[in-house]
Amino acid sequence: MTHVRETKAKIAELKREAPASFLRRYVFSLDHKVIGKQYLGLALVAVTVGMILSWLMRLHLGYPKLAIPGLSTLYPSGAAGGVMTPELYLSLMTMHGTIMVFFVLTTAPFAGFGNYFLPIQVGAEDMAFPRFNMMSFWVTFVAFLVLLAAFFVPEGAPLSGWTAYAPLSAVGKDAGPGQGLGQTLWGLSIAIFCIGQLLGSLNFIATTLDLRTKGMTLGRMPYSTWAWFITSVIGLIAFAVLLPACILLVLDRVAGTSFFIPAGLVISDRLQPHAGGSPLLWQHLFWFFGHPEVYIAILPGFGIVSHILAAHIRKPLLGPRVLIGCMAAIGFLSYVVWGHHMFLSGMNPFSAMLFSVPTLIITIPATIATLLWIGSLYGAKLRFTAASLFCLGFISVFVSGGISGFFLAQPSIDIYLHGTYFVVGHFHFVMGVAAMFGIFAATYFWFPKMFGRFMNETLGKWHFALTLIGVYGIFMPMHYLGLAGNVRRYSAFTDDYMQSAQPLHQFITIAALFTGAVQLLFFINLIWSRFRGPAAPDNPWEATTLEWTTTTPPPPNNFGDTHPIVYRGPDEYGVKGPNGDYLMQTDPAGA
């Protein structure tokens, strides 16, 4: 009997059919499409947790004396009577940042959509190493569980921020509640996460380079494929550096080493039993990863927006090769700017200049890309869908956040603004919200292909409009707060010179609650459309790339019995084709 079952499984594998067993089909699946959905599901859970944490923080910032119902039950030591302690605030901040950066902004646009669509867009049957691909997801899932476990250990979650600056992150429980086992779990979680992402990057690179179908030259790859490919190269280098940094951090914590802990360090009135370490070493290693991580979050958005905009303006984007060159240039430059996160670390002013100049230079390709998108809109017959609106929103928030980056790139200005809400507003716009808008655009655009049904457009447009208003309501005032000298990482401003800013904090809190509530529209739309949305044809957006040449949803081997042959690039819009004003990449006419 076992032999018969094994033989059937083998035949199914050879024919690239979906395996019959539930576990192999939906849980430990080797199919990149299932793995992509698993990543997106993980990101959905993570973003919900991260958003709730931000709500709790904002409630406390806006109304510091407010007793939040239920909080004292969840955190008896951190919120006696429901009012948050500063330590609890810091641990919520740490977990919010870590969850959002690693488990949402990295997993959804890169690992989620990339897993699902990169192999199809290059015409492959699957990723180059399906088993590594499955491992990549499950390793990431374990990393998420290890991180969440920090909430439930006796001293609670860590409070050293998502950057886990040493020496506080390295010395143990003397540094505060949560800096015991919670911080160790943080280090382990991120180390495990790095392994998962390295496996993922390896797959993306090998698949792009070696499994492209006939005719799919590098020059004919869609923008999104290019973006995922460049992101995977960045991720490969960045996570390969964060992994050893986390290993050294965990060793400092559990094995008594002194990689990051200096001599003579007194914390909580106790001389730490370490000597000679360098806290700055952690910062260098972390930010060598941390700045490229910004682009790991945002570059897939560049690709997604370019891909979707081209299908919606019904003409080729301006300068397609320049646009891809810009993404590659941003990827390269992302490795020489990490020091701009450390202008306040006491670095030599000449070193600061060395990091400032490439930081300013990196704005050039980013600006060119933005101008190419905006220029492409000129004279276009834009189709207003939820997907295209989120693309426009992406450009808007990326520009808004990017402009404040010009100021922060200059050491003399950054020294004043670095510790303030100006930076919070900046990076949430340029990295968080922009990447989220890319994720939303991708969801509305690719949902019909993934699930065979359309999402509700009206709800989607309301979701876009209200979210856009909400995020500007949250993050734009933060720039003013920062310019006024409002420091970040503090849990409340009731007893100091920032009292006058309290009404603005309350406004931001209301905007945050509003924006979070608006996301319910998205969740409802997602669930309703999954089961009740109108059926979608194979190519509902009249787009040109390979994912639209196959059935909806795609078969297990992506293209059924035929294998696609590519005759042209992805930009053939505004031309006369057999089905309308476009030519698909597989269309031989006029080749």
């Binding site: 190493f129 090998a206 698949t207 070696d210 390969a240 550096v241 050893p244 360098s278």
Partner: protein, 191 residues
């Protein structure tokens, strides 16, 4: 259309090269931490690395040589079509044995240091020694897993189908030897 075999072969080679790039970055990060840490404190303890490491080095190099001896046998058998790779399995098994011997040797070297009272927390120099050698040994264990898989494939499929696995495993295994030579040089010069 490109034959599936060629695609698989190319992809596995690319995969190993990409893995090599990632591992190189990891050890570059460790090395930069090593150099910075040596310069940042006054607690650096200079010690002589165990002589056993030189014997282990010879074992690892010999294992690389043994794996190369399997190559002409693989190529010959693959050229003949569906013939099994006569003799290749023996050399792969020898490589596997030498690889395991290398790891055992490394364990003995760690025990040697522990017996001298040099544990992780004693000082930064021996902490780095353990970090470098343990992380390298973990990667070697990954290579050993690859060799076991290769041995299995050689027993199950013709040489032409096992050749891509051989190519990828050999590339990775030789990189382990090169990486070890670099680490040995670094540890010898700076410890």
């Amino acid at each position: 259309m490109i034959p599936v075999r060629v695609e698989a072969s190319r992809a596995s080679r690319t995969g190993v090269w990409v893995g090599i790039a990632a591992i190189t970055m990891t050890f570059t990060a460790f090395t930069s931490a090593f150099v910075v840490r040596q310069g940042s404190g006054t607690d650096w303890i200079h010690f002589r690395i165990p002589a056993l490491l030189y014997v282990n080095t010879l074992i690892l190099l010999a294992s690389s040589g043994a794996l190369e001896l399997a190559r002409p046998r693989m190529t010959r058998a693959a050229a003949l079509g569906d013939a099994p790779a006569q003799g290749a399995s023996t050399w792969v098994a020898v490589t596997l044995g030498l690889g395991l011997l290398f790891v055992c040797g490394q364990v003995l070297a760690w025990r040697n240091l522990v017996a001298q009272g040099l544990v992780l927390a004693t000082g930064p120099s021996n902490a780095f020694f353990y970090v470098f050698t343990v992380v390298h040994a973990l990667h070697v264990l990954g290579g050993i897993a690859g060799l076991i898989y290769l041995l299995r494939r050689l027993g199950q499929v013709p040489a032409s189908l096992a050749e891509p696995v051989y190519g990828a495993t050999a590339l990775y295994w030789h990189f382990m030897a090169v990486l070890w030579l670099y680490l040995l040089l670094l540890l010898t010069v700076r410890l």
